[in-house]
Amino acid sequence: MSRVAGGDADALGELYDHYGRVVFGLIYRMLGSPESAEEVAQNAFHSVWRQARAYRPERGSVRTWLLAIARNAAIDWQRSKGNRMGRETAIDETLMLVDERRVEDTVIASLRAQRVRAAVASLPREQREVLSLAFWSGLSQTEIASRTGAPLGTVKSRVRLGMARLREWLGDDEVRR
């Protein structure tokens, strides 16, 4: 990151080599279109280039910082395009993805991804649903309550319990790079 912040474009390329697949995959999942994902991923890395000097390692990993930029770029793109269809597709794909039956069937390249899948799949379905709607679709707890018909307090409880479980499984140094 320090080389990127210093204006080394080759270092940005190396950052892409390291995180490009997960950034592109995240955006693709949210937008449901390879063309849109390519455009937004390019914009996200451009934001990383411009904001590199704002990165503070004590506030989180490079991966999380970069993915947060990518997710925001995807949500902004959805809003600017009014692209609800892509968002709905992403939700359905995500819910299918984390279904228990898929965990063992899916070919996963990395052990980290397997671990994440297992952690998500271990959550009760109602917790997976609210986390998916929040993470992949950018919905607030209030919006999730409205969409699912569940009381707001129930949604908040599911988010809290689901995140606590994920944090227990994934929120340690093993998931950081």
């Binding site: 990165y55 950018g138 707890q141 995140m163």
Partner: protein
């Protein structure tokens, strides 16, 4: 006894809090080390979920990204905060009362030039945010500035109206908390511009703008030209 918003940290990490809730929780976290540690762990966990979506991108994407960076040149000094990224972008509502108050105050402040004043236009376009005018210190004539704190929880920023910085100098923003000012971003723009602060503000912080050597510095060397308090 301090009450910690423990139950809301997971939702904040997911970007699932409503704007006002997020602002309140983020303000607490900015001054609470234990909640900050917990939030960072939750954010790592939340974004680990993205691992499940890994996918090959077109080969041309890497080339596009690197070539665009080369064309643009070295990145500017920090213009965005980390914590501000963990937001849920939402359209800002337009509070009529704020717009009216701004219009009245700016009409007085901008005087005869108000109709063509880009600074006033920039401020009057703000909605869903707390706006704090920064006071000119008299060090540099004609400078103006306001601190904007979005209620959405997005990063605070300055709207500035500045003359061109002298050769070898740049404008630098500072957050004043305790005895050591925190560098909070630079700009070489002249005229009306915005500058996103690079660190979260907490209630009671001061904000100042100084002239510093090009590229910015980590410790204040120049006298404040604008100053205000949250």
């Amino acid at each position: 006894m301090t009450l910690h918003p423990t139950d809301d940290l997971g939702a904040l990490a997911l970007g699932a809090l409503d704007a006002e809730e997020a602002r309140v929780v983020r303000a607490h976290v900015a001054g609470c080390e234990s909640c900050g540690v917990e939030l960072r762990a939750l954010q790592e966990a939340a974004f680990a979920v993205a691992e499940t979506a890994e996918r090959d991108a077109p080969d041309r994407l890497r080339t596009k990204i690197v070539e665009r960076a080369r064309r643009e040149g070295a990145p500017r000094r920090a213009t965005s905060s980390f914590s501000g990224l963990f937001r849920r972008p939402v359209p800002l509502a337009i509070p009529l009362a704020l717009a009216v108050l701004l219009a009245i105050s700016l009409a007085t402040y901008a005087g005869a030039q108000r109709d063509r004043d880009r600074y006033a236009s920039a401020l009057s376009g703000i909605a869903g945010a707390r706006v704090i005018a920064l006071a000119p210190t008299g060090e540099v004539p004609g400078v103006r500035g306001s601190l904007v704190i979005p209620v959405s929880g997005a990063a605070p920023y300055l709207i500035l109206d500045l003359p061109a910085a002298p050769s070898g100098k740049t404008w630098e923003a500072w957050i004043l908390r305790g005895e050591t000012p925190l560098a909070a971003g630079i700009t070489n723009d002249r005229g009306v511009t915005t500058l996103v602060l690079t660190a979260p503000l907490v209630s009671g912080d001061g904000v100042a703008v100084t002239l510093e050597p090009s590229g910015g510095v980590d410790r204040v060397t120049g006298a404040p030209v604008l100053a205000g308090k949250t």
